[in-house]
């Protein structure tokens, strides 16, 4: 059985590429101190500022003479932790609210779905900006802003799955066997919606990384000198034409990471959908 699961995964090229990229970025974030040739903040040397890529500095250096490769590697820590933590929070909020709405029904459902619709009607970047404006810049605030803004899809999916699975015969059978409501929720329904929720979560991580980059670019997110991809782009903006490498590499890092996560999420969804995987 195990063998065929590997084979099935290997046949989906986008899933394989997604897994490889994501694992590489995670690896990079965890082992940043071992992998980066220089310290991302302390090893500033104005004597070597604005150097193009060379053997010494593979990605070149920025205006303060810091190694861009090291900063990009360390930047993965910020991006990934913001993405993962805030999406974890979104998932928890979304699943809890979705379960409440689907299971309790009545006015619970009306209020939660109303809230969800409001959340969906405001672009998450705008919403995050508003929260940041309220809380002020900073890493923790970015995390809070992102963690409360992106749960609406998860909530909707959870609710609709709860509603549709109540019609499923194995849920009816559980009722007939005297399972309580809460037990049905946790043993019969939740295990069957973990898949779609994780897929949305993966895509959500990618979205959160993009928004974090956007916020940091606007100066509201991670504050210098902490290396973050969005922040690096912001400072590199003025030297876009004179020293393009300062912006190209963090930009590529964002691009590849988000691409990898999206491929992972999409591939996973296809993998789970028996209708697609048949062909």
């Amino acid at each position: 059985m195990k063998d065929t699961i590997y084979k099935k995964i290997l046949r989906r090229k986008n899933l394989v590429v997604g897994i490889i990229i994501t694992l590489a970025v995670v690896f990079m974030a965890i082992f940043a101190p071992l992998m980066s040739p220089y310290h991302p903040i302390d090893d500033a040397d104005l004597m070597v500022s604005d150097q193009p890529p060379s053997i010494e500095f593979l990605f070149g250096t920025d205006e303060q003479g810091r190694d861009i490769l090291s900063r990009v590697i360390y930047g993965a820590r910020v991006s990934l932790s913001i993405g993962l933590l805030s999406q974890a929070m979104n998932t928890v909020i979304g699943v809890v609210l979705g379960l409440l709405a689907g299971f309790m029904g009545k006015w619970w459902d009306d209020i939660i779905m109303g809230l969800t619709n409001i959340m969906l009607s405001i672009p998450s970047l705008v919403f995050a900006l508003a929260i940041m404006a309220l809380l002020g810049p900073g890493l923790i605030n970015v995390f809070l802003a992102l963690g409360f803004t992106n749960w609406a899809y998860t909530c909707r999916i959870t609710r609709s799955q709860v509603l549709s699975s109540q019609e499923l015969n194995f849920v009816k059978a559980a009722q007939a066997l005297g399972y309580g409501k809460i037990r049905i929720m946790f043993t019969q329904i939740l295990p069957n919606i973990v898949g779609p929720i994780l897929v949305i979560g993966t895509l959500g991580v990618a979205g959160a990384i993009l928004i974090e980059a956007g916020l940091s670019f606007l100066g509201l997110g991670t504050q210098p000198p902490t290396p973050s991809w969005g922040g690096m782009l912001a400072t590199a903006r003025e030297q876009l034409f004179t020293s393009p490498w300062i912006s190209i590499f963090p930009g590529l890092a964002i691009f590849i990471t988000v691409l990898g996560l999206n491929l992972l999420g999409d591939g996973w969804r296809d993998y789970m959908d028996p209708r697609i995987s048949r062909q």
Binding site: N169, F170, K172, A173, A176, T187, P191, N192
Partner: protein, 326 residues
């Protein structure tokens, strides 16, 4: 004969909600005044076409949906409103009345192993110790024709017929007295149906079960049931023992239903009474006898009076004005 379940004037009306404020705009009269008795060790067949309310009747007896009115008595206890019953009585009822579904694919949780599907109900109600539960799961799997060695597998590793056996084992796990079988073979391949039918017959004797067998296939129903109730638009129109019903069908609908069955014999006579038109919607059941618009023997009173189910002797019940005229 000792009655185990008595249903009196059961009604299940589903409100139809429409508009922004979800106002009730009428009702679907899914089950509209059904009465029957199920005796111990007996199989009662409920037949009828789609939308006649046979499945809803089953679900109502199981208390899986709210009943509008009527009385359900199980083992002498009124169980018409389960939400008002003490918890341990509810659990006792759940242990004693079980269900087998039509579709063997949606009836098993795909994320649970067979061991858990069959064993968990006993664990939840703390009926046995862990060791006994393990033994019981193996015993039930063997009884239903499964290999106990496969208990660690997931439902998708089994074929439709085997899944139906798992569903039966699950229904048996808590030692039920009544099993409601809702079209248990109609989703299975022809060559598999006989296996499941024979299994149900064997298990009935072995475990002293009473069945309510819901189906549309009259040949299967005649084979398995002791008594048969024919339903049309939420009502029982005829009810009798299987021989009585087969030899002497009285209601025009029963007669038409019998004559519509395709017979697997190319030389069989093929003169049949074809019914006109379709089954009316249970939202707007016709006035009087709900069968009158399609009835070949309809006469004056049929569209005014709703006939009641009357015993014609020999426990043969018919709801038809043809037999009321004397």
């Amino acid at each position: 004969m000792e009655p185990i379940l008595e249903v009196t004037d059961l009604k299940v009306h589903f409100p139809i909600k429409k508009g922004i404020f979800a106002q009730t705009k009428g009702y679907v009269y899914a089950v509209d005044g059904v009465s029957f008795t199920l005796n111990k060790g007996e199989t009662l067949g409920v037949v009828g076409e789609s939308g006649c309310g046979k499945t809803t009747t089953g679900m109502a007896v199981l208390q899986l949906l709210d009943i509008t009115s009527g009385k359900i008595v199980f083992n002498g206890k009124d169980i018409s409103d389960i939400s008002k019953m003490p918890f341990d009585e509810v659990i006792d009822f759940r242990k004693k009345v079980q269900i087998i579904f039509q579709d063997p694919f949606s009836s098993l949780n795909p994320r649970m192993t067979i061991e858990h599907i069959i064993g968990d109900p006993m664990r939840i109600h703390k009926m046995f110790g862990e060791k006994e539960i393990k033994e019981r799961v193996a015993y039930l799997m063997e009884k239903t024709g499964l290999r106990p060695g496969q208990a660690g597998r997931y439902p998708h590793e089994f074929s439709g017929g085997q899944r139906q056996r798992i569903g039966i084992a699950r229904a048996l796990s808590m030692g039920p007295e009544i099993i409601i079988a809702d079209e248990p073979v109609s989703a299975l391949d022809v060559s598999i149906q006989a296996q499941i039918i024979n299994l149900l017959v064997e298990l009935q004797e072995e475990f002293d079960l009473s069945y309510i067998f819901i189906a549309h296939d009259l040949a299967v129903v005649e084979h398995i049931c002791d008594r048969i109730a024919v339903m049309y638009l939420g009502k029982i129109v005829e009810m009798a023992s299987y021989e009585e019903l087969f030899l002497n069908p009285r209601h025009p609908y029963t007669k038409a239903l019998f004559s519509a069955i395709p017979i697997a014999d190319p030389r069989a006579k093929k003169d049949r009474t074809l019914l006109e038109g379709d089954v009316p919607s249970p939202r707007h059941p016709p006035s009087g006898c709900s069968f009158h618009p399609r009835c070949p023997e309809c006469f004056k009173t049929c569209n005014i009076d709703d006939p009641v189910l009357r015993n014609m002797g020999n426990d043969h019940f018919v709801a038809c004005h043809l037999y009321n005229r004397h």
